[in-house]
Symmetry: C2
Subunit: 147 residues, 2 copies
């Protein structure tokens, strides 16, 4: 079995962010990986679904649970282009997510602004993969929105 | 039009919690009220849906947005029997919830443990309605679970 890298999976998440961008959604994308296989792909759909909670991570976590038929995701890795907000970080807590990899930091609404433990204590975190590309896509989106 | 009280709506949320209890779900219930009318009722369904994110508040917020065809809920009041966790508080932030009324406090995972602003700045908060009944139902549930 070919083993994929974190960079590969983050690029897959980034492709999801680009799909969001094309559909005029805030461009954030996510994939969830279990045993080296992508079991969920999602992008922000708050506009399409008229649901302020339809963040990429929320959709991906629910989809991953459905795919596995399991409520908890301790063997799963979430790759997301933007630092999760507290809602999504809270969702990752409840699902006992194994690993969180995020790209761009979110200095306004990112969970890491909150000092307390929001993530599950067993969730490993990495950040920075495709951070620049992910942030640029967001900047481009909001620049376009303002014009 | 008959005007209902906060106590009435919290009791409706409590009925939802009892439904959860009967279905062996952690007993938390919620309703969302818009202009004196309940537009969403929900209870925790993490077991039934095999989805750790399927908290009463998440389901209710999405259902309310669907009912209104609107992403934001500034004129809505959420009544929930237990203090929301950070995920649900985050969801209420994104939906710009007008009022949050919760019953029992959650000293372990309640959003108010977190000092930073998680709720939307415009969301008014009250707590304590049916707190005892709501907590008792939870205590009974976990006592039953342990036996």
């Amino acid at each position: 079995m070919e083993l994929f890298s974190d960079a590969y999976f983050m690029n897959e998440a980034f492709k999801q962010a680009k799909l969001a961008f094309e559909e005029e959604e805030i461009p954030v994308g996510a994939v969830i990986v279990c045993r080296n296989k992508i079991i969920a792909r999602a992008y922000n759909q708050t506009e399409k679904l008229t649901d302020a909670t339809a963040h990429a991570e929320m959709i991906a976590i629910t989809a991953a649970a459905n795919a596995l038929g399991a409520k908890y995701l301790p063997e799963c890795k979430l790759y997301v282009t933007l630092e999760p907000c507290v809602m999504c970080a809270g969702a990752s807590f409840w699902s006992q997510l194994g690993e969180l990899h995020y790209g761009a930091s979110d200095p306004k609404r990112g969970f890491s602004l909150i000092q307390e433990r929001i993530l599950h204590p067993k969730t490993k975190v990495t950040k920075g993969l495709m951070a620049k590309e992910s942030k640029n896509l967001l900047d481009e989106f909001f620049k376009k929105l303002r014009n």
